[in-house]
Amino acid sequence: MPTITHYLALSLILFTIGLAGVLIRRNIIIVLMSLELIFNSVNISLAAFSYFLQSINGVVFVIFSITVAAAEVAIGLALLVTVYRTRRAVNVDELNEMKG
């Protein structure tokens, strides 16, 4: 049987990878993916605590966390689209191309 430490270690490793991705990567969409990695690692930690504490709070918390993360992704990618389009729209040549 894996112990709580196993799960927490996995969660911590994924969290660190996600954090490093946010801090290091320049490609903004990969940064957003790294954020998802962070939230997933936290979910593992919550679910593991829930199981080993024999309570249901953590599992319900994970459901809320997943929900909130989904909403956050929608906003994050909408922001990305907005940024991308305003940068594009600044370029007149490409504006013409889009109309054609």
Binding site: F15, V42, F61, S65, I75, L80, T82, V83, T86
Partner: protein, 484 residues
Amino acid sequence: MNLASLNINIYSLLPLLMVVGLALFVLVLDFFIPRGGKRALGYVSALGLVCILPFVPMFIETVPSYAGFVIADTYSAFFNVVFLVSSAFAIFISIDYLRRLGSESGEYYYIMLFATAGMMIMASANDLIGLYVGLELMSMSFYILVALRPGKGAEGALKYFVLGAMSSGILLYGISFAYGFSGTTNVNEMAAIVYRLPDNNTYLYLALALIGAGFAFKIAAFPFHVWSPDAYEGAPTPVTALLSVGSKAAAFAVFLRVFAVALPAFHGQWSDMLWVISAATMIFGSVVAIPQKNIIRMLAYSSIAHAGVILMGIVVNSSAGASAVLYYSLVYAFMNVGAFTVAALASRGDGGEQLTDLRGLASRRPWLAFFMALFMVSLAGIPPTAGFMAKFFVLASAVHAGYYWLAVIAVISTAIALFFYARVIFYMYMRDYEGAELPERSLFTCVTYGVVLILTAVGTLALGVYPSAILDIAVRAVGPLFTI
């Protein structure tokens, strides 16, 4: 689960439900209002908030409701007043601001109302899950609001989003360890349980460090402040005002609730951490504000410095410190909203709120310059304004609790900060204006801004001259926190 044990109590949520109802009402109203008339929604929102304001102190329930998720005590009521006042101001000045930007939309108003609702959820959150969802409601609304400024808004918002979401992740990770340590997410249950647990558990250290870092992001404390100047600059100025006042006050509300109510047993562990953050934040904010050319960025760094001072009140973990935090939040709402209002009005509307725009303001718009000077004096912490009293109460509580060095650092940072606040006044009164003249304002614009400016100025002065009334309320408001 027995339904009666949930303690479903509609009264404890009534102010919140009113704000949410107002937001949904404005959302529906938006469908029927043609494109040109969106400002009507602004009036509805602002007046609605003003109407809700008197209800806030009427519904105080000391018993947690909704299975312990909500506590509508005097503490949350005090913060709710701060939120409602600052968002009413922010919405009021938005009406004209958006018209000038040419980006009037109904969404702006009701997302602002949702942000307010998020803050209120945070202030009355008695459970870490409720806290998290409230925080996310507020943060998400702000991500959108920041992006609603055409042009540079979206980029500032994206930066704010990435760092904000990362900090939410860190906070959530901390919450997971707090849950793992105590076996509960409820603040009261946690407070009751942690006394019986060993205080050298490493999950506890992780929980304290990560929750502290997560909150430090939200209040833009050093070194977690990087998002704030960009977001402040990119956002529409009224949103910046609300962001710097409301979201910060909400973050302080939960900061205090979590650390003072749930984890007072470990004051020794967390106070050192917050001490360092507080001291670094005060110094950093004041020093970096000096070279800023953009008035919004300058106010952003000033806001960072103020967050450091407010944090002192949490470090001391006493009734005096906590009441000083509440008092400071209210005062800060008045003076900072006022300062941003002048900044919004004085800028030429093309987005470049440069400090140089203020040159010669005293000769062109003597009243505006007077108000700005008043707010600057208050932000700098000079008597007889409210800013002085607020700082005084925080310092007094710190000294009283024996944090002498922290108090000294606060005084030094205030002295440094004097420089850039004075520079604003210097620009307004001692320099002549060059370049294009400010556009003439309609009478109506003058009235809306005038109302906000007069109210904030009166608030700034009144709280400075007669601090005792509000301070008494603040002391009573923090009562529930320190009785358990």
